[in-house]
């Protein structure tokens, strides 16, 4: 039998290079189309956006934009809009992510066991997620309508005409909450599906052992199920946070960022600045800032996953 050392020597001496190198080269070749695609479609526009954000189109019949460095960023940070955008964006992201994940997890727990009609109900639960965002937004806008909406008519029956005529989307105090509720409804099935899949991997013997030890269901959830699903929960939180931070259609269709900017978040404001006011340079600057903020959201996860892999190694 050849020793491992002999075998390695033979590999190194091969005129075609080592098999590991060949495998690495093949891997790179296979990856190349995807890398080029991502570079062309994602990183190049990203670089363009950063470059564009450092320009300004001057007045006076000229199409040539001037390089202004960080002037657009300084204007943004020193202006009024930045503060409310930060507050709205984080409030929106926090409440929608928490709402979607809590609802998704609770529904996943309820539908983890098979019971009568659970299959049909699972399909029904997924429906909001399948609906196009614009359609869902129009539905909710109609439901909130003070004159014709379902919510208004139910409230009117329950509490009388005063509350029934509530102007949820037209009141600066309630508009953001109203769109958050709609977004939770629209997006929670995504978390539900992932948690339902994650629950299949929870060690049943641990759940049974906890049951035999007399633990009640809430204790089992807190002490057995959630710890077992920690990686799934972390990933779902991260993904829903990214999706939510970048969400556009629901808010745009329901309120266009109003009233009085009370529901503007970065994507809606970027759209309004770029396409509503033709100010693409400033829109790009807002986009770069939004990207930077999103990276902050990613950092804890990246650090956590790097640490996990180091531990595994």
């Amino acid at each position: 039998m050849r020793s491992l050392a002999q075998s390695n020597r033979r590999r190194r001496l091969s005129p075609f290079g080592s098999s590991r190198n060949r495998a690495a080269r093949a891997g790179l070749l296979f990856l190349a189309p995807a890398v080029l695609g991502v570079a062309a479609l994602v990183f190049w526009p990203l670089v363009q956006a950063v470059w564009q954000s450092m320009h300004k189109t001057p007045s006076g019949f000229s199409s040539a934009s001037e390089f202004v460095g960080f002037a657009n960023y300084i204007d943004i940070v020193s202006g009024n809009s930045f503060f409310f955008l930060i507050v709205n964006s984080f409030a929106w992201t926090l409440f929608v992510v928490v709402g979607q994940n809590v609802m998704g997890f609770l529904f996943a727990l309820a539908f983890n066991a098979r019971w009568q009609l659970s299959g049909i109900l699972r399909a029904i639960i997924i429906l909001p997620w399948v609906l196009p965002g614009v359609v869902a937004a129009v539905l909710w806008r109609f439901m909130y309508d003070p004159q014709l909406g379902l919510i208004s008519s139910v409230l009117e029956r329950l509490f009388g005409p005063e509350l029934g005529r509530s102007q949820f989307l037209a009141d600066t105090n309630t508009a953001l909450a109203a769109v958050i509720v709609a977004a939770i409804w629209k997006g929670f099935p995504f978390a539900f599906l992932i948690y339902l899949a994650g629950l299949q991997n929870v060690d049943r013997s641990q759940v049974e052992a906890a049951t035999m030890d007399g633990a009640r269901f809430p204790r089992i959830v807190l002490s057995v199920i959630i710890p077992s699903m920690r990686p799934v929960i972390a990933l779902t939180l991260l993904l829903t946070a990214i999706f939510t931070f970048n969400y556009f259609d629901m808010i745009w269709v329901m309120t266009k960022g109003g009233p009085l900017n009370s529901t503007h978040i970065f994507p809606t404001f970027i759209f309004q600045t770029g396409f509503g006011q033709f100010n693409f340079e400033m829109a790009a600057a807002y986009g770069v800032l939004a990207f930077a903020l999103l990276l902050i959201l990613l950092v804890p996860y990246l650090r956590h996953s790097l640490k996990s892999e180091r531990d595994e190694d």
Partner: protein
């Protein structure tokens, strides 16, 4: 280690997508434009592209194609490629094309985009063409519409279609039941009294709306103009905080009590729904609303605008101009100009628009054949004024819109207008 790097790169890519979405991707405009400068035309033939948008489901494209075919038969050296784009996506498509260097040769451009596009060098001055033209003259078009395309004394567009905000459409049955004279709606006092008489029991008197949208701004402007106020004065300074404008804003905000709940998020579209289901007695719309009402069961009528007693209602122009883009060659521009002269001529203009023709002669024939009360419409068109000709109009409009929302939300009109003027003068 490799896995970690790939994962980090993948996550960065996910984040980067968010940013990439907001940059002006030239590729998106490519399918819509033919890149007029790049296409090699057949010998002796020039190909031009015309972009237009469609606001109503009126089968307009078919009529436009007939007109284009006629033009090409009369001008065999020109090929016109027509791109008709639905109104909601027109602005984005055109902007992306302009940003990506794929602009059409000629396009219908919203009156309020003209100054901005001219200032950025995206469209060209048509002064030389106008000076040499026998048919495209200011006198042949509604004055306010012509002026909407004049920036710093130069014409950057030729009026194509127009309409005017606002006409007050009313439900004749509801007014009769409340003993309200329709003509009383033309005065501020009359409109307010009608609002009071028509509101109650799930019914609303006045279709006031205040969402973030240009329809809110044009209605606001017409009340300001009708009180002899201005948005910008002759020096280009904000005049919203001047007494006449503030008085109009206070009056308009006072109508909120007669409007359906949720004014700050309501649009003209929502008011139309309530008007059509019979729960709203009056709505503010341009003449464009007539075909919708003609198809409904509502017994309706309309009056032109509303002004304080003794003053004339002045409307706000809406509509589109035909502009030529910078990317075109001289031969394409010459061909495009011939095409502009053709489709704005009295014989053709009425067949190719879904608002009202901007050519006066064509408009007269059009409203007499297709609209109720043609004389009322024509008089209001002649009185109307364009929105401010500012290269920053779109930002100005947003500020004005937010000012109105603030007033509707309870802020004192003078103070809200003062704040808005500081922002507008700082643009």
């Amino acid at each position: 280690m490799r896995t970690r790097n790939i994962r980090a790169a993948a996550l960065l890519a996910v984040g980067a997508l968010a940013l990439a979405a907001c940059t002006s991707a030239a590729s998106e405009g490519e399918d819509a434009g033919s890149g007029s400068g790049d296409t090699a035309p057949p010998a002796e033939q020039v190909t031009i592209t015309w972009w237009d948008n469609q606001q109503t489901d009126s089968g307009l494209s078919e009529y436009q194609q007939i007109a284009v075919d006629r033009f090409m038969a009369e001008n065999p050296d020109v090929v016109v490629e027509v791109e008709t784009i639905p109104y909601p996506e027109y602005q984005q498509r055109l902007q992306l094309a302009v940003q990506g260097g794929n602009s059409p040769t000629v396009a219908t451009v919203d009156q309020i985009w003209t100054a901005g596009l001219a200032a950025r060098g995206n469209i060209i001055s048509l002064d030389e063409y106008v000076a040499a033209s026998g048919s495209v003259k200011r006198d042949n078009f509604f004055a306010g519409a012509w002026d909407s395309a004049v920036v710093d004394g130069q014409a950057f567009g030729v009026p194509f279609n127009v309409d005017v905000w606002q006409f007050t459409f009313y439900n004749e049955d509801l007014l009769l039941a409340a003993d309200v004279d329709p003509q009383s709606l033309t005065t501020w006092d009359g409109l307010e009294a009608a609002g009071a008489a028509l509101t109650g029991d799930g019914q609303f008197g006045i279709g006031l709306f205040g969402h973030l949208g240009e329809d809110t701004v044009v209605v606001m402007d017409s009340f300001i103009f009708s009180n002899e106020g201005e948005v910008l004065d002759s020096a280009g300074k904000c005049a919203l905080n001047q007494p006449a404008s503030v008085e109009a804003l206070e009056y308009l905000a006072g109508l909120q009590q007669y409007a359906p709940a949720g004014v700050l998020n309501n649009s003209s579209g929502e008011m139309r729904e309530l008007f059509l289901n019979g729960s709203l007695a009056t709505e503010f719309w341009p003449a464009l609303e007539q075909p919708t009402l003609q198809d409904s069961d509502i017994n309706w009528g309309f009056v032109a605008g509303t002004a304080p007693a003794g003053k004339t209602p002045v409307g706000t122009y809406g509509g589109w101009n035909l502009s030529m883009f910078t990317d075109a060659t001289d031969a394409e521009r010459d061909a495009a100009w011939r095409f502009i002269e053709f489709i704005t001529s009295p014989e053709v203009n009425g067949d190719v628009v879904d608002l009202l023709p901007a050519n006066i002669e064509a408009a007269k024939a059009f409203v007499e054949a297709n609209r109720e009360g043609p004389e009322v419409i024509l008089e209001h068109l002649n009185n109307a004024k364009p929105r401010p000709l500012s290269e920053n109009y779109l930002e100005l409009s947003t500020i004005q819109n937010e000012m109105f929302q603030s007033i509707l939300n309870g802020t004192d009109a003078q103070s809200a207008a003062d704040t808005a003027c500081v922002a507008i003068d700082g643009l």
